[in-house]
């Protein structure tokens, strides 16, 4: 070390030489005496090294960015890159908004897709049916007017992925409905809304089955993934025509029958407490035949609705839907046309209790099934 005119600097240099020359054991003993831990200074040193390394890393990043900025500015290539990033951000935000804010009903773009045409057609039909003197479907009426016998065409061939398709459809719709409950009345027939008494509070919050009943439609026919692009609107799917013919006059209340014989263990309205539920529970041995309560079309068959187990929904005339829940085995498929009394499933159990949960709904509102069922005999 060079001699300095600074006395304190010279002193520090001399002391530093002493420190460097001091044996390690002596140094560590001094630290232990001062701080109680031989490694206290080493630990502090490691902490400082870590801090220095982080700071150096940041300095390097900043220096690299500073070095890059002039080249970016010269090339001006950042402008298209920035524009592309901005466009991407706009698309992502718009898509997100669309998914969260979009209306429940089919949009024109979706309606143009052949797979969704049947859903759009049915939605329109429900609106038309709400008008007193309009028929549900033009085609069957024209046939009837011409006096031609109505031969129900075979139901639409079920797609290979019959089980998967309805799940995908109803899942999407449940979410949309839950997100926008104020839109539900638009999908309900106006006549039904006018004749029904105002729903009690317990009923106001519709169950998921109600949502499915009100909104589930026949599954679209199978199609290739790219078939949505620029496809012309096709005529109503055969399944919709089958539905129209199966349910007959839209204003007529179907003649309901008991789906099976058994003891009603839970009524829609409890005689004791007055509590309301959406249907009735009928206790029967597991495996008992469950029969269609009226002529109709299967609009849902699956186990995708939580709390209902295996569930079958039949759509009938007059805007009625019947639900058969907690069943053991499903014997029908979506779009199947069923006759009153036809076996559609085998009964199962809810928890440990063997029973059938049966509901009748008009539109989306649950109705006490006993109002429409004949006295049990």
């Amino acid at each position: 070390m060079n001699r300095s005119s600074d006395h304190m600097q010279n002193l520090a240099d001399a002391l530093s030489e002493d420190i460097v020359a001091t044996p390690a054991a002596v140094l560590l003993a001094e630290v232990a005496e001062a701080r109680g831990d031989r490694h206290a200074f080493a630990v502090d040193f490691d902490r400082i090294v870590g801090r220095a390394a982080r700071r150096t890393r940041w300095r390097g990043i900043v220096q690299r960015l500073r070095a890059m900025l002039p080249s970016f500015a010269l090339r001006s290539s950042w402008r298209p890159a920035l524009a592309a990033v901005a466009c991407l951000a706009v698309i992502v935000v718009a898509g997100d908004l669309y998914l969260h804010v979009r209306p429940v009903g089919p949009t024109p773009m979706l309606a143009s897709a052949p797979g969704n045409a049947s859903r759009v057609a049915e939605s329109r039909r429900e609106e038309i049916a709400a008008l007193p003197r309009l028929s549900l479907s033009e085609e069957p009426r024209a046939d009837m007017d011409a006096g031609a016998p109505v031969a129900a065409p075979p139901p639409a061939p079920p797609p290979a992925d019959t089980v998967a398709a309805p799940k995908r459809v109803h899942t999407m719709r449940i979410r949309g409905d839950a997100d926008a409950p104020h839109e539900a009345p638009a999908a309900r027939p106006a006549t039904a809304a006018a004749t029904e008494p105002p729903a009690p509070p317990a009923q106001a919050q519709r169950s998921r089955a109600a949502v499915v009943a009100a909104r589930t439609t026949p599954a679209p026919p199978p199609q290739s993934p790219g078939a949505y692009a620029a496809a012309p609107v096709p005529p109503p799917a055969p399944a919709v025509a089958a539905l129209d013919r199966a349910i007959g006059d839209h204003d007529e209340v179907p003649s309901f029958a008991w789906p099976l014989s058994g003891q009603v263990i839970a009524a829609a309205t409890s005689a004791k407490t007055g509590a309301h539920s959406d249907g009735i529970d009928i206790t029967v041995p597991v495996g008992t035949d469950i029969r269609a309560a009226a002529d109709g079309v299967v609009v849902y068959a699956g186990d995708g609705i939580k709390g209902y187990g295996n569930l079958v929904l039949l759509r009938h005339g007059g805007g009625f839907v019947t639900a058969y829940a907690h069943i053991d085995r499903i014997l029908v498929k979506v779009n199947d046309v069923v006759q009153r009394g036809q076996v559609i499933a085998k009964s199962g159990r809810a928890g440990t209790t063997p029973l059938l949960h049966f509901e009748i709904r008009k539109g989306s509102a649950a109705i006490d099934p006993k109002q429409y069922l004949p006295p049990p005999g």
Binding site: L27, F41, A42, T56, G60
Partner: protein, 178 residues
């Protein structure tokens, strides 16, 4: 001629290898320091940070940063402790000078005040050894820049006594808050 680096990172001839350590090598060398070396560096930083505007941790951190980012080149033939000691010392000197330059820009009253305080520090240190004339002589010699044999002769002590005295001086001054 093949030489072995004092810090063990190179065994090739200096003419074939880079003259200085890369930042990555410097980082590895710092992390490989022994506990005693780390302790010594901390003590050195404490000494040199006196009369700078920052504390010893800032001083050591700045020294390490300059080594790690390559601003201070680390010659391969220099061992870690002497090299880092030199870096710490030069930064402390740099900061102290900046401090003095700031004094120059400040009012004359403030500059004069600092010079008086610096003089008081010397007086304070010497007064610390009023009870030990031999140690006081050694401290005075240290402040004048005397070293080794010259200092020992100045104190008039035998080698063992001289070394023992220097250890006592160092310990007492390390505890001194200036």
């Amino acid at each position: 001629m093949t030489t072995v680096s004092t810090i063990g990172f190179s065994s090739v001839a200096p003419e074939q290898a880079d003259v200085t350590l890369s930042p990555a090598e410097a980082g590895a060398a710092i992390r490989a320091l022994s506990v005693a070396d780390k302790t010594a560096l901390m003590k050195l930083a404490r000494l040199y940070a006196r009369k700078t505007p920052y504390d010893h941790e800032d001083l050591l951190q700045e020294a390490l940063c300059r080594v790690l980012d390559g601003a201070r080149a680390w010659p391969r033939h220099v061992a870690a402790l002497p090299f880092l000691w030199g870096v710490v010392r030069s930064i402390a000197w740099e900061w102290k000078n900046e401090f003095v330059e700031c004094d120059g820009k400040a009012t004359d009253v403030e500059g004069e005040e600092r010079r008086v305080i610096a003089g008081l520090d010397v007086v304070k240190v010497i007064a610390l050894f009023d009870d030990d004339p031999a140690a006081q002589i050694i401290v005075r010699g240290m402040m004048e820049g005397a070293r080794g044999q010259e200092l020992q002769e100045l104190s008039g002590l035998a080698k063992t006594d001289y070394e023992s005295k220097r250890t006592k001086i160092r310990r007492r001054l390390e505890k001194l808050e200036l």
